[in-house]
């Protein structure tokens, strides 16, 4: 049995026949081949699969693709504009906020939502806001710096 699901992904309308149990992250990775969104734990605890669904950061391993029916989904592949990195992407590079790069897409997507809802986040607010995203490489030190800089740049 399959169902038809339709949504907008990175500004592009997409539609596919999928098994109803297909997770949003599987739909993005396997059907659309948008492999920037990663799976780190399958259980909603690591945040590597974070994407934006109607402007809210969500863990795409915790949603069925059918739950995104009609929604606007944005992934890490969709945030640079006309070849220019999003200010949060630039800030992560400038502040060495990534090492192996595996948690990075989810971390950047979570950070953009955090900075959108709180344009002047303190270190404490950033640490609390990123509590749902695990990074094993950076110790978060440079991620915190990057998010602070990225939030400031997003206001410009």
């Amino acid at each position: 049995m399959s169902v038809t699901v339709s949504m907008t992904v990175n500004g592009r309308p997409v539609s596919a026949d999928i098994e109803p149990r297909t997770l949003l992250v599987q739909f993005l990775r396997d059907h659309l081949r948008l492999t920037g969104t990663h799976v780190g734990c399958d259980t909603g605890q690591c945040g590597a699969c974070t994407v934006h669904l109607d402007d809210r950061a969500v863990k795409s391993c915790l949603l069925l693709a059918v739950q995104a029916q009609g929604a606007r989904v944005v992934t890490i592949e969709g945030i640079a504009r006309d070849g220019e990195l999003h200010p949060m992407q630039t800030a992560f590079r400038d502040h060495h906020g990534l090492q192996c790069g595996f948690c990075t897409p989810g971390m950047v997507m979570a950070a953009i939502e955090l900075a959108t809802s709180n344009p002047n986040p303190t270190e404490e607010a950033i640490r609390a806001g990123l509590e749902g995203n695990l990074c094993r490489c950076t110790g978060y030190h440079n991620i915190v710096k990057a998010v602070q800089a990225g939030a400031a740049a997003m206001k410009r």
Partner: protein, 788 residues
């Protein structure tokens, strides 16, 4: 001319692909026609497999194949080898019970693979696996290191009825006994070094393809050393011709040791890819990572330090029992021996040291190298003893260290290593300053007014990196060489591709190594690309672990660059009609000394590939050189870590309020990347001290901490920002003067954190806290101390 690149915080070349989602991790790769593998795993810690019925699974929708240990045995697939032979105190080799890729007859830990289902989709493979009926006869299990040698403990392997793999020792026992007999004071402690799960955020993954046209295989695998993976898999397990197998470790999402090793799943899918005639992909779920990635640490130790009345260390006596898990993983045997006991001198002149290590099998996942690998365990023993002894003797904790620091180099320790250089006072003094230790008492009093207990902890650690001089490693039991290889390919236009046997999985080699090359050749950084992680493109490599990449891999690159420049000098001498002796290379050009006659690096490269005016009678065309580098000694990074904590005595909650790390990594190529490596190591070290603990149920052998809900990997709000600085005492035996920085944080931090907690609680009479120092443990320690 370019500005010098060495020592500059150059932004990373690799970042763009990761920030835009265009990295290529193993699970991101899809091959046409690929099938998906799912492994059925043992729910028992110890059981005999009476029978297995795979027929219903075979008939399930979408299933391509169901394969078991019996199939592997029929195909003569060998057992997984161990790369290091430890010789027992009695001169006997360690026990090496076979580790089959799929269980045969018996299972020995929860999660051990018993069958693989390969299907069109992962969901079909999983559904079919549920139809496999395994008739297990459950057997009693032993999981804890403290229980493994108890009389009557279940035997994990028939070949080791007492569960002992080996008893190994180092040092002069008689000298140690003598020193203890006349000591003014003895400080003794018992330690648990808690078992850890590495938890790289990218789960292990592999994708194997067989090409019948040329009888070759390609394996994509999340791995830290693809050539070693290939060698072990082809020569020892599958019996395939090495040159017919290409192993590619593409972007790898963190390793921390756990992706060094050859694992069963990679073997099974490579073998299965030929058998079913299709590519096969397997990606671990996080619960499989918890169950089957090689774990780390898990020691039980009794240690005693003998001192004279001035706090001078006279001798150290250590007895450790180390858990190896159910089977010997690739490097398991050398971690609690060669990489542990040899570090017990620390930064000190302790003249006599003896350490005995008993390594035991248990019904748990295999234990192997995890960030630091033996050295965090050694540092924990030494630094906990030193802080405790200082308190017992009433000596300031910085002062007792100063009184015992090694100051003359080279220094031969009583436990085999010879430190080439160091300046331990320099890192300690800088750490004392940065951490404002002078102001600590005021902060302690201020915290007390708020009802909080504040403590300060020190850890002045040493590590041995740059693994390793192959002949020394060989004499200690290594079954492989530990050199590194590099190739420098200069293209006709003067741009450069470097092929390195090191592998980056977060360390930033594509930037750091390019800095070294561009700096030496005087060419722009963007003209240099670093290629790693592919046996089809790289001549050879021993891979990345033990903070060895810059010291060994980087030096191999420098040696190859030397050959490039030597040949370039000959070519330039011909072009400039000068004597080779008069040619010097500087600012990116070969120049006749004392003149302005010069040929740029790119001009010489072009001449090498368009050899019209060229000494063809004496010199080959082309500009491509390789080098293998085997280090003369280990490198010895060292540093001082100072942790400041606040304990809430009502709840036992510990907050790290400040952490200062001053490290000596020798010469630093890219300080931004080095600091990042330190931050990450500190997070894992603080994680070990406060949060992380892998627990198996003692009776059932079930893994109780099998998810991120039960096993606390540090999150952003668990950690402070760090104060990090470096001192540079260049390594004396490699041309870059580098030592390595990847593991320092994880090595130094645990002792600093626990020393800080004990310092906070010492006024209550608390002398020790077991890691992880959870609120419950701290609260109980406070209650026990109060009860007297």
């Amino acid at each position: 001319m370019n500005a010098p690149l060495i020592g500059q915080p150059v932004k990373r070349k690799e970042d763009l692909r990761f920030l835009t989602g265009s990295g290529q991790f193993t699970d991101d790769i899809a091959l046409p026609g690929q099938a998906r593998a799912y492994f059925l795993r043992s729910p028992h810690a110890h059981a005999r497999i009476r029978s297995m019925d795979i027929e219903p699974a075979r008939a399930a929708p979408g299933v391509v194949a169901v394969l078991t240990g019996a199939d592997l045995a029929r195909a003569k697939v060998g057992a997984l080898p161990c790369g290091w032979l430890i010789t027992d105190v009695n001169g006997k080799p360690m026990k090496e019970p076979p580790r089959p890729a799929l269980a045969q007859d018996k299972v020995r830990y929860v999660g051990e693979a018993v069958a693989v289902v390969i299907a069109e989709t992962l969901e079909q493979a999983k559904d079919a696996a549920e139809l496999i009926e395994v008739d297990y006869e459950a057997l009693p299990a032993v999981t804890r290191v403290a229980d493994a040698r108890k009389p009557g403990a279940p035997a994990v392997h028939e070949a080791a009825p007492d569960n002992v793999c080996y008893v190994w020792a180092i040092g002069d026992r008689a000298a140690v006994e003598k020193a203890f007999a006349s000591a003014h004071h003895v400080t003794a402690l018992e330690f648990v070094n808690n078992r850890l799960v590495p938890n790289a955020i990218e789960p292990r993954a592999a994708l194997a393809q067989y090409s019948p046209g040329d009888d070759s295989y390609t394996l994509y695998v999340a791995n830290q050393n693809p050539h070693v993976e290939r060698l072990l898999m082809t020569a020892f397990v599958l019996g395939l011709p090495e040159h017919k197998v290409r192993v590619i470790a593409p972007d790898v999402g963190g390793g921390f040791g756990s992706k060094i090793f050859l694992y069963p799943e990679e073997i099974v899918i490579t073998w299965a890819a030929r058998r079913i005639g299709r590519p096969v992909k397997w990606t671990a779920e996080r619960s499989e990572s918890f169950l089957t990635d090689a774990h780390g640490r898990d020691h039980l130790t009794r240690a005693e330090l003998a001192l004279d009345r001035n706090g001078k260390f006279l001798a150290l006596r250590v007895a450790t029992t180390a858990n190896l898990g159910a089977y010997l993983s690739t490097f398991a045997s050398c971690i609690p021996t060669i990489l542990y006991a040899t570090l017990l001198a620390g930064q000190y002149t302790t003249p006599a040291i003896h350490c005995e290590v008993t390594a035991v099998f248990t019904n748990t996942a295999p234990v192997d190298a995890y960030r630091g690998a033996g050295r965090p365990e050694a540092t924990y023993v030494v630094e906990r003893l030193v802080d405790t002894a200082a308190r017992e003797l009433g000596i300031d904790r910085a002062e007792i260290r100063r009184r015992n620091f090694i100051r003359e180099f080279p220094y031969q320790t009583p436990v085999a290593l010879c430190y080439d250089t160091g300046n331990y006072e320099a890192t300690l003094e800088e750490a004392l300053r940065l951490a404002d230790v002078a102001g600590f008492e005021a902060r302690r009093r201020e915290a007390e007014k708020r009802g909080k207990l504040r403590g300060l902890g020190f850890s002045t650690y040493i590590e041995a990196c740059g693994l390793a001089p192959s002949n020394i490693a060989g004499s200690l039991g290594a079954r492989a060489g530990l050199f590194e290889a590099a190739e420098i390919r200069v293209h006709p236009t003067g741009t450069v591709t470097v092929f390195t046997g090191s592998h980056a999985h977060g360390q930033g080699h594509e930037t750091t190594f390019a800095q070294v090359v561009a700096d030496r050749l005087g060419i722009p950084l963007e003209n240099v690309d670093i290629v790693h992680g592919d046996t089809g493109r790289i001549l050879f490599g021993m891979g990345t672990y033990g903070s060895r990449s810059i010291a060994v891999g980087g030096t191999a690159i420098v040696k190859a660059l030397d050959k490039i420049l030597a040949k370039g000098r000959k070519i330039a001498a011909h072009l400039l009609e000068a004597s080779e002796d008069d040619i010097e290379f500087r600012n990116g050009a070969f120049q006749v000394a004392g003149t302005d006659r010069r040929k740029t690096f790119a001009e010489v490269a072009l001449a090498a590939y368009v050899p019209h005016n060229y000494p063809l009678d004496r010199l080959e065309p082309g500009l491509n050189e390789t080098a293998f580098y085997d280090p003369a000694n280990f490198t010895f990074p060292a540093g001082s870590h100072i942790c400041e904590v606040e304990v809430d005595p009502d709840t036992g909650a510990v907050k790290v309020v400040a952490f200062t790390a001053v490290d000596d990594f020798g010469r630093v190529i890219n300080p931004m990347i080095v600091e990042g490596q330190v931050h990450g190591g500190l997070a894992q070290g603080i994680g070990q001290a406060l949060l992380e603990g892998c627990v198996y149920d003692a009776e059932s052998g079930q893994l109780l901490t099998g998810s991120f809900m039960d096993y606390a990997v540090p999150r952003a709000d668990d950690l402070p920002s760090f104060k990090v600085a470096t001192k540079e005492t260049p390594c004396t035996h490699n041309p870059l003067g580098v030592k390595g920085c990847g593991e320092a944080g994880a090595i130094g931090a645990p002792a600093a954190v626990i020393n800080a907690i004990v310092d906070a609680l010492a006024p209550l009479g608390v002398r020790d806290i077991e890691m992880p120092a959870t609120p419950e443990r701290v609260w109980r320690a406070i209650q026990a101390a109060k009860a007297g």
